[in-house]
Symmetry: C2
Subunit: 147 residues, 2 copies
DNA sequence: ACTCAAATAATAATTTTTATCAATTAACAC
DNA sequence: GTGTTAATTGATAAAAATTATTATTTGAGT
């Protein structure tokens, strides 16, 4: 995952370039966004950092995510149940497949996506700028456990 | 739009069939869900009914939507900005195209949807149960106004 | 090291949704 | 039609999530 290390440095560089201070709290948040395997929530990030940083405040997490979002370096995933999760590894819109049993999230490459975007443009005459594509179902692991 | 009239009666019948009382407040909420042109929010519904029903409570709107949702007769659309909108006309998942200028929502028929679902299943080995597909962009009306 | 604007931490305020509960009322039996 | 009963309503409180406020602290440049 050298890709993730790059993301970490890309985000920090962007913060510097835009004149923001590089604080330890900020570094810790960026590290989790860029390197953690899953799609962490604000609470996830807060709890994890609190271990090494007992004075960490929830507001700091919110403010930093807001900042990094405004730089276009993290993707916010608001789910129908109201929960928000963040992806600092792929900050651009992309499809997600979510297991409704174990909450695992998979990110497929879909060849049919380009064609669908064209179909949408043709049919609606919209200029499509971005999208949000989620599929919900049961993953193979959970199907096996059910037997 | 005889379709929408049908939806109104289908929902009320389902409420009756499941032993729920048909109150004037409930009828008003169902009417908006089934007949209003857009995708109303809880607040929209509340404000609109308050005109004829000054004693209407927000909690009543929430409780009724929860009930109708549990009967599978309304689709809840939670958007990334945290807002929730409801569709009582097509209560099953379907793609939406949203104008980020005027908030207009269009519902296209996409031939490529079935193929994409198959591709998702093949690639991820998930059993796909439902989906949420939103495209965001600028509608042709708003593009014309910009000139 | 010094200065200063920016960031943090703690908390208050706001927003959205859900829970509580006494008063009301729709539906059914008679 | 009238009475009974359990569901529903309405008002408000509570809960949950996010944003705002502000005194204090600190990173970064001089």
């Amino acid at each position: 995952m050298t890709d993730n290390k790059d993301r970490y440095e890309i985000i920090i560089q962007k913060l510097r370039d835009n004149g923001h201070k590089i604080t330890p709290q900020r570094l810790a948040i960026v590290k989790i966004l860029a390197k953690s395997e899953g799609h962490p929530s604000v609470e996830d990030i807060y709890v994890q950092i609190k271990k090494d940083f007992p004075t960490m405040s929830l507001a700091t997490v919110y403010k930093n995510i807001l900042l990094i979002k405004s730089l276009g370096e993290v993707l916010e995933l608001g789910f129908p149940d109201g929960s928000n999760r963040y992806d600092g590894k792929k900050p651009y819109p992309h499809p997600h497949v979510i297991c409704i049993k174990c909450r695992k999230i998979v990110e497929p490459d879909l060849d049919s996506l380009d064609g669908m975007k064209k179909e949408v443009s043709l049919e609606t005459h919209f200029n499509i700028l971005y999208h949000r594509l989620d599929f919900f179902g049961i993953c193979s692991d959970c199907r096996i456990k059910e037997r």
